[in-house]
Subunit: 184 residues, 2 copies
Amino acid sequence: MVDAFFERYRPRLTETAIGLLMPNVKVLHHPKKYELIKANHNSGYAYLLVKGAARSYYLHNGMEINSWFAFENEMVGSLRNYNNLPSRETIELLEDSTLLSFNINGIKPLMAENIEISNFINQVIGEYCLYLEDKLYYTHLRSARERYTALLAQEPNVFRRVPLTYIASFLGISRETLSRLRAK
Amino acid sequence: MVDAFFERYRPRLTETAIGLLMPNVKVLHHPKKYELIKANHNSGYAYLLVKGAARSYYLHNGMEINSWFAFENEMVGSLRNYNNLPSRETIELLEDSTLLSFNINGIKPLMAENIEISNFINQVIGEYCLYLEDKLYYTHLRSARERYTALLAQEPNVFRRVPLTYIASFLGISRETLSRLRAK
DNA sequence: ATGCCCATTTGATTTATGTCACAAAATCAT
DNA sequence: ATGATTTTGTGACATAAATCAAATGGGCAT
Protein backbone atom coordinates (compact mmCIF):
# COMPACT_ATOMS: atom_id res chain seq x y z
CA MET A 1 0.00 0.00 0.00
CA VAL A 2 2.74 2.42 0.85
CA ASP A 3 5.42 1.13 -1.48
CA ALA A 4 5.37 4.21 -3.68
CA PHE A 5 6.21 6.29 -0.64
CA PHE A 6 8.93 4.11 0.81
CA GLU A 7 10.59 3.64 -2.55
CA ARG A 8 11.58 7.28 -2.59
CA TYR A 9 13.90 6.49 0.33
CA ARG A 10 17.30 4.93 -0.11
CA PRO A 11 18.62 2.56 0.89
CA ARG A 12 15.19 0.98 1.01
CA LEU A 13 14.09 -0.23 4.43
CA THR A 14 14.85 -3.90 5.01
CA GLU A 15 12.41 -6.40 6.53
CA THR A 16 14.15 -5.97 9.87
CA ALA A 17 13.53 -2.24 9.95
CA ILE A 18 9.96 -2.65 8.80
CA GLY A 19 9.41 -5.29 11.47
CA LEU A 20 10.54 -2.86 14.15
CA LEU A 21 8.37 -0.08 12.78
CA MET A 22 5.18 -2.05 12.31
CA PRO A 23 3.98 -2.18 15.95
CA ASN A 24 3.98 1.63 15.82
CA VAL A 25 2.03 1.94 12.59
CA LYS A 26 -1.75 1.80 12.11
CA VAL A 27 -4.00 2.17 9.09
CA LEU A 28 -6.71 4.77 9.62
CA HIS A 29 -9.70 6.17 7.77
CA HIS A 30 -11.06 9.58 8.65
CA PRO A 31 -13.68 11.83 7.09
CA LYS A 32 -13.23 15.27 5.62
CA LYS A 33 -12.73 17.96 8.28
CA TYR A 34 -11.27 15.51 10.79
CA GLU A 35 -8.44 17.13 12.74
CA LEU A 36 -5.33 14.96 12.81
CA ILE A 37 -3.36 17.41 14.93
CA LYS A 38 -4.72 20.29 16.97
CA ALA A 39 -3.08 23.66 17.50
CA ASN A 40 -1.24 24.05 20.82
CA HIS A 41 -1.16 20.30 21.41
CA ASN A 42 1.44 17.60 21.12
CA SER A 43 -0.23 14.78 19.24
CA GLY A 44 2.55 12.21 19.42
CA TYR A 45 1.81 11.06 15.88
CA ALA A 46 2.93 11.73 12.34
CA TYR A 47 0.94 10.51 9.35
CA LEU A 48 1.43 9.30 5.84
CA LEU A 49 -1.40 10.38 3.59
CA VAL A 50 -2.19 7.28 1.54
CA LYS A 51 -5.32 8.67 -0.08
CA GLY A 52 -6.90 12.07 0.38
CA ALA A 53 -5.77 15.59 1.13
CA ALA A 54 -4.93 17.73 4.15
CA ARG A 55 -4.17 21.28 5.07
CA SER A 56 -2.30 22.92 7.91
CA TYR A 57 -3.48 26.25 9.26
CA TYR A 58 -3.07 28.54 12.22
CA LEU A 59 -5.11 31.46 13.54
CA HIS A 60 -3.83 35.02 13.16
CA ASN A 61 -6.08 37.96 14.07
CA GLY A 62 -9.01 35.59 14.02
CA MET A 63 -8.23 34.51 10.46
CA GLU A 64 -7.18 31.04 9.36
CA ILE A 65 -3.78 31.21 7.67
CA ASN A 66 -2.95 28.09 5.68
CA SER A 67 0.68 27.02 5.78
CA TRP A 68 0.62 23.99 3.49
CA PHE A 69 -1.50 21.45 1.63
CA ALA A 70 -0.65 17.77 1.21
CA PHE A 71 -1.89 14.96 -1.01
CA GLU A 72 -1.27 11.26 -1.72
CA ASN A 73 2.08 9.85 -0.62
CA GLU A 74 3.07 12.80 1.44
CA MET A 75 4.06 12.77 5.08
CA VAL A 76 2.01 15.11 7.23
CA GLY A 77 2.69 16.10 10.80
CA SER A 78 4.09 18.77 13.03
CA LEU A 79 7.88 19.17 13.16
CA ARG A 80 7.36 20.91 16.47
CA ASN A 81 5.46 17.86 17.79
CA TYR A 82 8.35 15.69 16.65
CA ASN A 83 10.57 17.89 18.81
CA ASN A 84 8.20 17.68 21.79
CA LEU A 85 6.87 21.18 21.32
CA PRO A 86 3.19 22.04 20.91
CA SER A 87 2.08 22.35 17.31
CA ARG A 88 1.35 25.88 16.19
CA GLU A 89 -0.92 24.53 13.51
CA THR A 90 -4.08 22.49 13.18
CA ILE A 91 -3.86 19.77 10.55
CA GLU A 92 -7.25 19.03 9.05
CA LEU A 93 -8.38 16.67 6.31
CA LEU A 94 -9.70 18.31 3.16
CA GLU A 95 -11.19 15.05 1.88
CA ASP A 96 -12.18 11.66 3.31
CA SER A 97 -8.75 10.05 3.68
CA THR A 98 -6.78 6.89 4.32
CA LEU A 99 -3.68 7.32 6.44
CA LEU A 100 -0.91 5.49 8.20
CA SER A 101 -0.25 6.80 11.68
CA PHE A 102 3.26 6.63 13.14
CA ASN A 103 3.65 6.65 16.90
CA ILE A 104 6.50 9.10 17.43
CA ASN A 105 7.30 8.03 20.98
CA GLY A 106 7.45 4.43 19.91
CA ILE A 107 9.65 5.08 16.90
CA LYS A 108 12.18 7.55 18.28
CA PRO A 109 13.94 4.96 20.50
CA LEU A 110 14.27 2.71 17.43
CA MET A 111 16.45 5.34 15.80
CA ALA A 112 19.22 4.56 18.27
CA GLU A 113 19.14 0.83 17.63
CA ASN A 114 18.47 0.76 13.91
CA ILE A 115 20.44 2.98 11.57
CA GLU A 116 18.02 2.44 8.68
CA ILE A 117 15.13 3.88 10.64
CA SER A 118 17.32 6.77 11.73
CA ASN A 119 18.34 7.49 8.14
CA PHE A 120 14.78 7.20 6.95
CA ILE A 121 13.41 9.72 9.42
CA ASN A 122 16.31 12.07 8.89
CA GLN A 123 15.77 11.94 5.17
CA VAL A 124 12.11 12.89 5.63
CA ILE A 125 13.17 15.86 7.78
CA GLY A 126 15.97 16.79 5.37
CA GLU A 127 13.56 16.88 2.44
CA TYR A 128 11.12 18.99 4.43
CA CYS A 129 13.99 21.36 5.20
CA LEU A 130 14.80 21.76 1.49
CA TYR A 131 11.10 22.36 0.85
CA LEU A 132 11.03 25.14 3.45
CA GLU A 133 14.12 26.76 1.93
CA ASP A 134 12.47 26.67 -1.49
CA LYS A 135 9.27 28.13 -0.12
CA LEU A 136 11.14 31.03 1.45
CA TYR A 137 13.22 31.57 -1.68
CA TYR A 138 10.22 31.59 -3.99
CA THR A 139 8.06 33.89 -1.87
CA HIS A 140 10.52 36.41 -0.39
CA LEU A 141 10.24 39.79 -2.12
CA ARG A 142 8.04 38.34 -4.83
CA SER A 143 4.80 40.01 -5.93
CA ALA A 144 1.37 38.46 -5.48
CA ARG A 145 1.28 37.65 -9.20
CA GLU A 146 4.69 35.95 -9.11
CA ARG A 147 3.73 33.80 -6.13
CA TYR A 148 0.45 32.88 -7.80
CA THR A 149 1.98 31.86 -11.12
CA ALA A 150 4.75 29.94 -9.36
CA LEU A 151 2.23 27.89 -7.39
CA LEU A 152 0.14 27.31 -10.50
CA ALA A 153 3.22 26.02 -12.31
CA GLN A 154 4.70 23.96 -9.48
CA GLU A 155 1.63 22.55 -7.74
CA PRO A 156 -1.37 22.70 -10.07
CA ASN A 157 -3.10 20.02 -7.94
CA VAL A 158 -3.63 22.59 -5.27
CA PHE A 159 -5.97 24.54 -7.52
CA ARG A 160 -7.97 21.42 -8.33
CA ARG A 161 -8.44 20.17 -4.80
CA VAL A 162 -8.24 23.13 -2.42
CA PRO A 163 -10.80 25.97 -2.05
CA LEU A 164 -9.50 29.34 -3.24
CA THR A 165 -10.14 30.88 0.17
CA TYR A 166 -7.50 28.59 1.62
CA ILE A 167 -5.08 29.16 -1.25
CA ALA A 168 -5.23 32.94 -0.82
CA SER A 169 -3.82 32.95 2.71
CA PHE A 170 -1.27 30.30 1.74
CA LEU A 171 -0.03 32.71 -0.95
CA GLY A 172 -0.15 35.57 1.54
CA ILE A 173 -2.78 37.55 -0.37
CA SER A 174 -6.44 38.44 0.10
CA ARG A 175 -9.20 36.38 -1.46
CA GLU A 176 -10.14 39.33 -3.64
CA THR A 177 -6.63 39.68 -5.03
CA LEU A 178 -6.48 35.97 -5.84
CA SER A 179 -9.81 36.20 -7.60
CA ARG A 180 -8.55 39.13 -9.70
CA LEU A 181 -5.27 37.36 -10.53
CA ARG A 182 -7.23 34.36 -11.77
CA ALA A 183 -9.45 36.61 -13.90
CA LYS A 184 -6.14 37.68 -15.51
CA MET B 1 37.73 26.32 21.25
CA VAL B 2 34.49 24.92 20.02
CA ASP B 3 33.21 23.50 23.26
CA ALA B 4 30.45 26.04 23.59
CA PHE B 5 29.11 24.90 20.25
CA PHE B 6 29.36 21.17 20.78
CA GLU B 7 27.88 21.38 24.25
CA ARG B 8 24.55 22.33 22.76
CA TYR B 9 24.39 18.84 21.29
CA ARG B 10 23.32 15.81 23.27
CA PRO B 11 24.53 13.27 23.92
CA ARG B 12 27.87 15.03 23.69
CA LEU B 13 30.29 13.59 21.13
CA THR B 14 32.71 11.06 22.63
CA GLU B 15 36.45 10.98 21.94
CA THR B 16 35.85 8.25 19.37
CA ALA B 17 33.50 10.39 17.34
CA ILE B 18 35.74 13.42 17.61
CA GLY B 19 38.70 11.30 16.50
CA LEU B 20 36.84 10.26 13.37
CA LEU B 21 35.80 13.82 12.63
CA MET B 22 39.15 15.52 13.18
CA PRO B 23 40.87 14.58 9.90
CA ASN B 24 38.00 16.40 8.18
CA VAL B 25 38.19 19.57 10.24
CA LYS B 26 40.53 22.54 9.77
CA VAL B 27 40.91 25.85 11.57
CA LEU B 28 40.79 28.78 9.18
CA HIS B 29 41.14 32.56 9.31
CA HIS B 30 39.67 34.69 6.56
CA PRO B 31 39.24 38.44 6.13
CA LYS B 32 36.04 40.41 5.82
CA LYS B 33 34.39 39.98 2.40
CA TYR B 34 35.92 36.54 1.87
CA GLU B 35 33.45 34.23 0.13
CA LEU B 36 33.13 30.89 1.91
CA ILE B 37 30.61 29.52 -0.56
CA LYS B 38 29.83 30.84 -4.01
CA ALA B 39 26.44 30.93 -5.69
CA ASN B 40 25.81 28.12 -8.19
CA HIS B 41 28.70 26.06 -6.85
CA ASN B 42 29.00 23.01 -4.66
CA SER B 43 31.67 23.88 -2.12
CA GLY B 44 31.91 20.55 -0.34
CA TYR B 45 32.35 22.29 3.02
CA ALA B 46 30.28 23.50 5.93
CA TYR B 47 31.69 25.87 8.54
CA LEU B 48 31.42 26.66 12.20
CA LEU B 49 31.83 30.36 12.84
CA VAL B 50 34.12 30.52 15.88
CA LYS B 51 34.63 34.29 15.79
CA GLY B 52 33.20 36.79 13.33
CA ALA B 53 30.07 37.20 11.28
CA ALA B 54 28.70 36.09 7.92
CA ARG B 55 25.81 36.70 5.61
CA SER B 56 24.14 34.68 2.89
CA TYR B 57 22.72 36.42 -0.16
CA TYR B 58 21.50 35.74 -3.66
CA LEU B 59 20.93 37.94 -6.68
CA HIS B 60 17.41 38.81 -7.79
CA ASN B 61 16.83 41.39 -10.53
CA GLY B 62 20.42 42.50 -10.09
CA MET B 63 19.87 43.17 -6.39
CA GLU B 64 21.50 41.34 -3.50
CA ILE B 65 18.84 39.72 -1.32
CA ASN B 66 20.16 38.65 2.08
CA SER B 67 18.71 35.40 3.39
CA TRP B 68 20.43 35.17 6.80
CA PHE B 69 23.17 36.48 9.07
CA ALA B 70 25.27 34.37 11.42
CA PHE B 71 27.60 35.07 14.35
CA GLU B 72 29.77 33.27 16.89
CA ASN B 73 29.02 29.59 17.52
CA GLU B 74 26.71 29.21 14.58
CA MET B 75 27.02 26.69 11.80
CA VAL B 76 27.09 28.22 8.35
CA GLY B 77 26.82 26.43 5.06
CA SER B 78 24.49 25.54 2.24
CA LEU B 79 21.89 22.86 2.87
CA ARG B 80 21.73 22.43 -0.88
CA ASN B 81 25.49 21.78 -0.99
CA TYR B 82 25.02 19.21 1.75
CA ASN B 83 22.53 17.50 -0.56
CA ASN B 84 24.90 17.70 -3.54
CA LEU B 85 23.02 20.53 -5.19
CA PRO B 86 24.58 23.84 -6.20
CA SER B 87 24.15 26.58 -3.62
CA ARG B 88 21.71 29.29 -4.58
CA GLU B 89 23.46 31.67 -2.24
CA THR B 90 26.85 33.24 -1.75
CA ILE B 91 28.09 33.11 1.84
CA GLU B 92 30.38 36.01 2.61
CA LEU B 93 32.16 37.11 5.78
CA LEU B 94 30.97 40.39 7.27
CA GLU B 95 34.03 40.61 9.56
CA ASP B 96 37.51 39.09 9.76
CA SER B 97 36.66 35.62 11.07
CA THR B 98 37.95 32.40 12.58
CA LEU B 99 36.23 29.26 11.36
CA LEU B 100 36.29 25.50 11.47
CA SER B 101 35.78 23.92 8.10
CA PHE B 102 34.07 20.53 7.82
CA ASN B 103 34.73 18.42 4.76
CA ILE B 104 31.27 17.16 3.84
CA ASN B 105 32.43 14.33 1.57
CA GLY B 106 34.77 13.10 4.27
CA ILE B 107 32.18 13.23 7.01
CA LYS B 108 29.09 11.81 5.31
CA PRO B 109 30.47 8.24 5.14
CA LEU B 110 31.18 8.45 8.87
CA MET B 111 27.46 8.83 9.51
CA ALA B 112 26.93 5.20 8.50
CA GLU B 113 29.58 3.86 10.84
CA ASN B 114 29.14 6.17 13.83
CA ILE B 115 25.71 6.87 15.21
CA GLU B 116 26.92 9.83 17.29
CA ILE B 117 28.10 11.67 14.22
CA SER B 118 24.88 10.84 12.46
CA ASN B 119 22.82 12.17 15.37
CA PHE B 120 24.96 15.27 15.63
CA ILE B 121 24.53 16.23 11.99
CA ASN B 122 20.85 15.43 12.02
CA GLN B 123 20.39 17.59 15.07
CA VAL B 124 22.05 20.52 13.28
CA ILE B 125 19.72 20.04 10.31
CA GLY B 126 16.70 19.54 12.57
CA GLU B 127 17.39 22.82 14.39
CA TYR B 128 17.82 24.62 11.08
CA CYS B 129 14.48 23.21 9.99
CA LEU B 130 12.76 24.60 13.10
CA TYR B 131 14.46 27.94 12.43
CA LEU B 132 13.07 28.00 8.89
CA GLU B 133 9.57 27.19 10.13
CA ASP B 134 9.82 30.04 12.63
CA LYS B 135 11.07 32.42 9.98
CA LEU B 136 8.14 31.60 7.70
CA TYR B 137 5.67 31.83 10.57
CA TYR B 138 6.95 35.20 11.76
CA THR B 139 7.11 36.82 8.33
CA HIS B 140 4.10 35.44 6.48
CA LEU B 141 1.31 38.02 6.21
CA ARG B 142 3.11 40.36 8.61
CA SER B 143 3.62 44.06 7.90
CA ALA B 144 7.03 45.68 7.43
CA ARG B 145 6.76 47.18 10.91
CA GLU B 146 5.90 43.82 12.51
CA ARG B 147 8.83 42.08 10.83
CA TYR B 148 11.14 44.91 11.86
CA THR B 149 10.11 44.93 15.51
CA ALA B 150 10.25 41.11 15.68
CA LEU B 151 13.84 41.08 14.40
CA LEU B 152 14.80 43.88 16.77
CA ALA B 153 13.39 41.89 19.69
CA GLN B 154 14.70 38.46 18.71
CA GLU B 155 18.09 39.23 17.18
CA PRO B 156 19.28 42.65 18.29
CA ASN B 157 22.87 41.67 17.38
CA VAL B 158 21.94 41.94 13.76
CA PHE B 159 21.40 45.69 14.12
CA ARG B 160 24.76 46.13 15.82
CA ARG B 161 26.85 44.18 13.36
CA VAL B 162 25.11 44.22 9.98
CA PRO B 163 24.69 47.24 7.64
CA LEU B 164 21.09 48.43 7.34
CA THR B 165 21.19 47.95 3.57
CA TYR B 166 21.60 44.23 4.12
CA ILE B 167 18.97 44.09 6.85
CA ALA B 168 16.38 45.73 4.59
CA SER B 169 16.37 42.97 1.97
CA PHE B 170 16.49 40.34 4.73
CA LEU B 171 13.27 41.86 6.11
CA GLY B 172 11.86 42.03 2.60
CA ILE B 173 11.54 45.82 2.57
CA SER B 174 13.30 48.72 0.85
CA ARG B 175 16.17 50.59 2.48
CA GLU B 176 14.02 53.70 2.63
CA THR B 177 11.22 51.94 4.48
CA LEU B 178 13.66 50.50 7.01
CA SER B 179 15.10 53.96 7.60
CA ARG B 180 11.64 55.37 8.19
CA LEU B 181 10.69 52.55 10.56
CA ARG B 182 13.82 53.24 12.60
CA ALA B 183 12.98 56.93 12.74
CA LYS B 184 9.74 55.77 14.39
C1' DA C 1 43.46 65.69 8.03
C1' DT C 2 41.14 65.52 3.16
C1' DG C 3 38.44 63.98 -0.12
C1' DC C 4 35.76 60.21 -1.98
C1' DC C 5 32.62 56.67 -1.82
C1' DC C 6 29.00 54.33 0.39
C1' DA C 7 25.31 54.08 3.67
C1' DT C 8 21.52 56.36 5.50
C1' DT C 9 17.90 59.75 5.72
C1' DT C 10 14.19 62.64 4.00
C1' DG C 11 10.65 64.22 0.73
C1' DA C 12 7.36 63.70 -3.19
C1' DT C 13 4.92 60.61 -5.91
C1' DT C 14 3.23 56.12 -7.65
C1' DT C 15 1.53 51.55 -7.30
C1' DA C 16 0.20 47.12 -5.72
C1' DT C 17 -2.66 45.19 -2.72
C1' DG C 18 -5.85 45.42 1.18
C1' DT C 19 -10.48 46.57 2.80
C1' DC C 20 -15.32 47.17 2.52
C1' DA C 21 -19.56 46.31 0.34
C1' DC C 22 -22.34 43.65 -2.21
C1' DA C 23 -23.60 40.46 -6.19
C1' DA C 24 -23.42 36.03 -8.29
C1' DA C 25 -22.47 31.23 -8.14
C1' DA C 26 -21.83 27.01 -6.06
C1' DT C 27 -22.51 23.72 -2.42
C1' DC C 28 -25.10 21.65 1.28
C1' DA C 29 -29.01 20.17 4.19
C1' DT C 30 -33.70 19.33 4.54
C1' DA D 1 -35.95 20.52 -5.74
C1' DT D 2 -35.65 24.61 -2.33
C1' DG D 3 -33.83 27.63 0.42
C1' DA D 4 -29.75 28.55 3.24
C1' DT D 5 -25.08 28.92 3.72
C1' DT D 6 -20.64 29.26 1.94
C1' DT D 7 -17.47 30.43 -1.75
C1' DT D 8 -16.09 33.30 -5.43
C1' DG D 9 -16.19 37.55 -8.17
C1' DT D 10 -16.53 42.76 -8.98
C1' DG D 11 -16.36 47.61 -8.01
C1' DA D 12 -14.93 51.72 -5.31
C1' DC D 13 -11.79 53.37 -2.26
C1' DA D 14 -7.90 53.46 1.24
C1' DT D 15 -3.22 52.69 2.41
C1' DA D 16 1.31 50.57 3.17
C1' DA D 17 5.25 50.41 1.02
C1' DA D 18 7.92 50.95 -3.44
C1' DT D 19 10.13 54.07 -6.38
C1' DC D 20 12.46 58.17 -7.73
C1' DA D 21 15.29 61.96 -6.43
C1' DA D 22 18.31 64.48 -3.60
C1' DA D 23 20.60 65.72 0.60
C1' DT D 24 23.34 64.42 4.54
C1' DG D 25 26.44 61.69 7.15
C1' DG D 26 30.29 58.28 8.07
C1' DG D 27 34.09 55.47 7.14
C1' DC D 28 38.20 54.42 4.58
C1' DA D 29 42.26 55.27 1.76
C1' DT D 30 45.61 58.28 0.55
